[in-house]
């Protein structure tokens, strides 16, 4: 410790270190892109009409658990919602098929497509084991016209609200 020689990092070493840092940063950023993508998953307990005219009936009641919390309790023709970060969506369903049946639980894992923000999953269709594009669809938000209050020009007024 006492006799530390002054080591000057050579130019090439300095640059490798810098580039390495940059690469690591970009790698982290890219990784965050992948693991941080958020999705809103909607699950319907609705009758699924298929193109060939077939239809799959609703379930009596479904309780949806995500990360151990119940996020929805769906009766017939109801829709629930959960947010999920990442593409490997997991939930636990507690299903009552017909009135009076004993509920049973089922672990569900769905791969969410990266590009979709909102995803609708038709539970009856999924549980019937149909192909993915039959029970999964994109959620298209209705153009919200509720938040029209902005568009005032910005001045430097004092933010008197909570800071």
């Amino acid at each position: 410790m006492s006799e530390v020689k002054e080591k000057k990092p050579s130019g090439s070493r300095k640059w490798t270190a810098r580039i390495l840092t940059l690469v690591v940063l970009i790698a982290i950023a890219a990784w965050m892109f992948v693991i941080g993508r958020g999705h809103t998953v909607y699950f319907d307990n609705k009758t699924l009409e298929l193109e060939n005219g077939e239809s799959i009936g609703t379930l009596q009641r479904v309780d949806v658990y995500v990360n151990g919390n119940r996020v929805a309790r769906l009766a017939k023709r109801e829709r629930g919602m959960a947010t999920w970060i990442g593409q490997n969506f997991k939930m636990t369903l507690e299903i009552t098929k017909e009135k009076g049946d004993e509920p049973y639980t089922q672990e569900v894992a769905i791969d969410l497509p990266y590009s979709l923000d909102g995803i609708v999953v038709n539970l009856p269709g999924y549980l019937a084991g149909r192909s993915q594009d039959e029970w999964m669809s994109e959620f298209v938000p209705v153009a919200s016209s509720t938040t029209e209050e902005d568009e005032e020009i910005i001045t430097d007024e004092f933010g008197l609200g909570d800071m």
């Binding site: 965050m32 941080g36 902005d150 910005i154 430097d156 008197l160």
Partner: protein, 370 residues
Amino acid sequence: MNKKKFSLGEFLRGNSVPIMFILICAFCIPISGFSPTYLLNEIITRLGRNAFLILSLLIPIMAGMGLNFGMTLGAMAGEIALILVSDWQIWGIPGVVLAMIISIPFSVALGLLCGKILNMAKGREMVTSYIISYFINGVYQLVVLYMMGPIIPIAHSSIKLPRGYGIRNTVSLLNMRQCLDDLLAIRVSGVKIPVLTLIIIALMCLAIVWFRKTKLGQDMRAVGQDMDVARDAGIQVERTRIISIVISTVLAGFGMIIYLQNMGNLSTYSSHSQIGMFCIAALLVGGASVDKASIGNVFLGVILFHLMFIVAPSAGAKITGDSMIGEYFRVFVSYGVITVALVMYETKKRRAKQSLGRQLEEDQRKGEKA
């Protein structure tokens, strides 16, 4: 000459601002009628929210560039990063980390610009950095209000203005709201402690302590005390000053992201406009001055300033029957404390000059007698 001797008067004068605030708080807390748990909860929340931002002010003070009103630039960089990240729908902690990484190039560019301009305005860094923050605010609005949409792709209409370009007045950050604070959070008798955020702040403090021990830190202290001597010794004065501003801007960007993830939404056009003032006021309340600030000042400042901030409106309302009085009072106190600190700094500079004269005069008197 003997500085070790403790003098009460000296202590009171040196710490007049914190003492004043302790008195204000002591007066207002009982009147406001808030429960200790509530206050403690609020204080800890605000500590986690603001401390990082305030820490970003320390390094320019070390480099003798005064209170960096240009920290607003970092805040704007952080906001731009957050807008982008929320448009890309990256949520939670990954979103926060990504926003931090994305803010770096913006902060560095703005910091370089700010540092260059401040080097052209030596001796009036503070007023210049203050105007820079306004100027860049204009540029920020240009980017966010007109370029986001047509030039910078923004996909989601939920953050776009109905007219098709520009960002809405508020951008919801619900999906990363308090994600740092909640991870590892513990509750102690009703008080939520955001452990992860506090750990990040603690690491930042350690980093600053470490930074003071580096060659660069030493150079900054030297430049801060006497630019000419530092230049004669071969230190690159201008470069060092620019680096200090760049570091401060980058840290302010991180701080802003931490601040906003706690708030849970971003007021696109006003979140940053007051943030510099609040941080500076808090730091000064903690007993810092224009040329001297420590980590201790940061924490004391956050606690005292925000305690005042919480209790003043309610206490004001109880006393005068008008809730706005307290609101205005805390605004007045924020500005007042900065004014007082600036005045004290300038008068101290003058007094230092005069006392040098006194010293000489004394010597002469002695010489005359001898």
